[in-house]
């Protein structure tokens, strides 16, 4: 559906050069919700603006719905853009038009008939739950309602793709939830492909299928949300993950581990689906002569698949502990040894 291939973008500001994108490649399949996450200045907006060519790449290819956008002339490009809706952090509504006209204006520009406009706009306002606000002006709406108008407007031309530039960053948590639910809803109902950028991991967790993590103009990690959440590799990704699973060990905890006398390991165990967590833990205690200590546990759902993170500490005879670890490895999705300690020695790797 969307392919950005080896995109480079350099901005020239007063003879100074800013490399905003350094060879980014992403592929978005039809009907999927693709999230891009990164800190401020990572290049997310610049990347998003490549998809409708609001920003031209310095080099690279932009292919949307099988069309190489860089080969289109101005008129063809305008045609292609009509099939790409977009919503913004600050909504960008027309303050002098009422809600009906805000949604209708783009249809009027495209010479759609009056009755058809009326039908279409009413239907869209109903879809976003604002059918009673048609006569209101943007200044009379709340942020969440304004974003709903933005969504209705973006859908007016029946796009195949919807781009969201931090669409929920200006909203409170509850309103964010409702907007995300609406996006999920239209993704399912209309089969719309959605690309969204955000700096909130929570947004990715809630609605995305795929995720790309950006830093300094590069994608440092990408894959399915479930995979990335199960085993984040890059440090930045891990930091983002902590906003959801805060599995950082408190200082006292770490000190306590140091006091244990026997061979001790600390494991980060990832469960997926319904691999029964309790039975695995239960089995360890009954099958192996080791002390099991649960330090942290959390479970969440990612698009219907349960994902559990557990941090446990095993101590006992070295061989038996190792045996227990391989047993766990066989039963769960992923095990990472976070730290281990040999008898009275200090922690080897933390």
């Amino acid at each position: 559906m969307i392919e950005l291939i080896d995109i480079h973008k350099t901005f020239r500001v007063d003879k100074r050069e800013v490399e905003a994108l350094k060879g980014v490649t992403i592929r978005v399949r039809k009907g999927e919700i693709y999230g891009v996450i990164g800190f401020s200045g990572a290049g997310k907006s610049t990347l998003l603006r490549m998809i409708n060519l609001l920003e031209k790449p310095t080099s690279g290819k932009v292919i949307v719905s099988g069309q190489d956008l860089l080969e289109l002339n101005e008129k063809q490009l305008r045609g292609a853009r009509k099939k790409i809706g977009i919503i913004f952090q600050h909504f960008n509504l027309l303050s002098s038009y009422n809600i009906f006209d805000n949604v209708a204006e783009i249809l009027r520009m495209n010479k759609v008939s009056k009755q058809e406009i009326k039908r279409k706009v009413d239907e869209l306002l109903k879809l976003v739950g604002l059918e009673d606000k048609a006569e209101a002006y943007p200044s009379q709406l709340s942020g969440g309602q304004k974003q709903r108008v933005g969504i209705a407007r973006a859908l007016a031309m029946d796009p195949e793709i919807l781009l969201c530039d931090e669409a929920t960053s200006a909203l409170d948590p509850q309103t964010t939830e409702s907007i995300l639910d609406l996006l999920l809803d239209i993704n399912e109902k209309l089969g719309l492909t959605i690309v969204l950028i955000t700096h909130e991991m929570h947004v990715i967790q809630k609605i995305c299928d795929q995720v790309a993590v950006m830093e300094n103009g590069q994608v440092i990690e990408q894959g399915s949300v479930l995979d990335i959440f199960s085993v984040p590799k890059h440090n930045t990704t891990k930091n983002f993950m902590r906003t959801i699973f805060n599995d950082e060990m408190p200082e006292e905890m770490v000190n306590k581990i140091k006091k244990v006398n026997s061979y001790t390991t600390r494991l980060r165990v990832t469960f997926r689906g319904d691999a029964a967590m309790d039975s695995v833990i239960g089995n360890i205690s009954s099958k192996f002569a080791v002390d099991t200590n649960i330090l942290y546990g959390s479970i969440t759902s990612i698009k219907g698949t349960a994902l559990g993170i557990l941090i446990i500490q095993l101590s006992g005879e070295r061989d038996i502990v190792e045996e227990a670890i391989s047993y766990i490895k066989g039963a769960v999705y992923h095990v990472e040894v976070q730290a281990q300690k040999e008898g009275k020695q200090e922690v080897l790797n933390t």
Partner: protein
């Protein structure tokens, strides 16, 4: 004194008529020139709809030059141009040409300010939806800037009234001419006072009308 003023009533009526004629004609033509120039000044900026450094700079310089010449000097300086254009440098036709040359750049500047108020994000939104530049200028920028444009035209009109009074100096007729002939040259204080009062009333009316209309438009914003 009242009797004398009553005697002069036809003269006042004629002068008011002449002033309004000059103002209306020059305002219409200056607006027709000034608005497109104002739009050009906005869209040729870097990162706008049609960036063009040359057009932007040249327009800027020309407008600055004209705007820095006082009207009375501008009027005299362009007499040859006025004569070529309308065949005479006196009377209403003679005054209208410098009035337009004086007001059009003023309107262009005011338009520029009003249009720059339009949120860049809104323009970007419609660009991404595939709107053409003309559609964005006509249906988004001008529409969104309407209250500002109205105030800009109000200010331009008041500026014009001031300038027409000076145009009296080249025998253009109108209230300014009246005040000069009776008030200044014959030291007829009552006539001068009445003229000034009429001018004040006209200016007040236009300003109030402009404010009222702009506020009415803004009410929804």
């Amino acid at each position: 004194m009242t009797e004398r003023l009553l005697e002069l009533t036809p003269l006042f009526t004629l002068s008011i008529y002449e002033t309004l004629m000059m103002v209306v004609i020059s305002l219409v033509i200056a607006t027709l020139i000034g608005i497109p120039l104002g739009i050009l000044l906005v869209i040729t900026r870097p990162n706008h709809l049609a960036p063009n450094r040359w057009i932007f700079q040249i327009l800027n310089i020309i407008i600055n030059i004209i705007r820095s010449v006082p009207f009375i000097i501008l009027m005299v300086a362009i007499i040859p141009f006025t004569e070529i254009l309308v065949g005479s440098a006196i009377g209403i036709e003679g005054a209208v040409v410098p009035l337009i040359v004086y007001t059009a750049p003023f309107i262009a500047r005011l338009m520029e300010t009003a249009l720059l108020e339009v949120d860049q994000g809104v323009i970007e939104a419609y660009l991404s939806m595939g709107a053409s530049r003309t559609q964005i200028i006509r249906r988004i920028m001008i529409r969104e800037a309407r209250p500002g444009i109205l105030l800009c035209l109000t200010i331009a009109t008041i500026g014009l009234i001031g300038a027409t009074a000076m145009a009296g100096a080249v025998g253009a007729g109108g209230l300014g001419d009246l005040a000069l002939r009776y008030g200044y040259q014959q030291w007829d204080l009552p006539v001068m006072m009445v003229t000034v009062i009429i001018l004040i009333i006209i200016v007040q009316c236009i300003q109030s009308l402009g404010n009222w209309a702009a506020n009415k438009m803004k009410k929804n914003l």
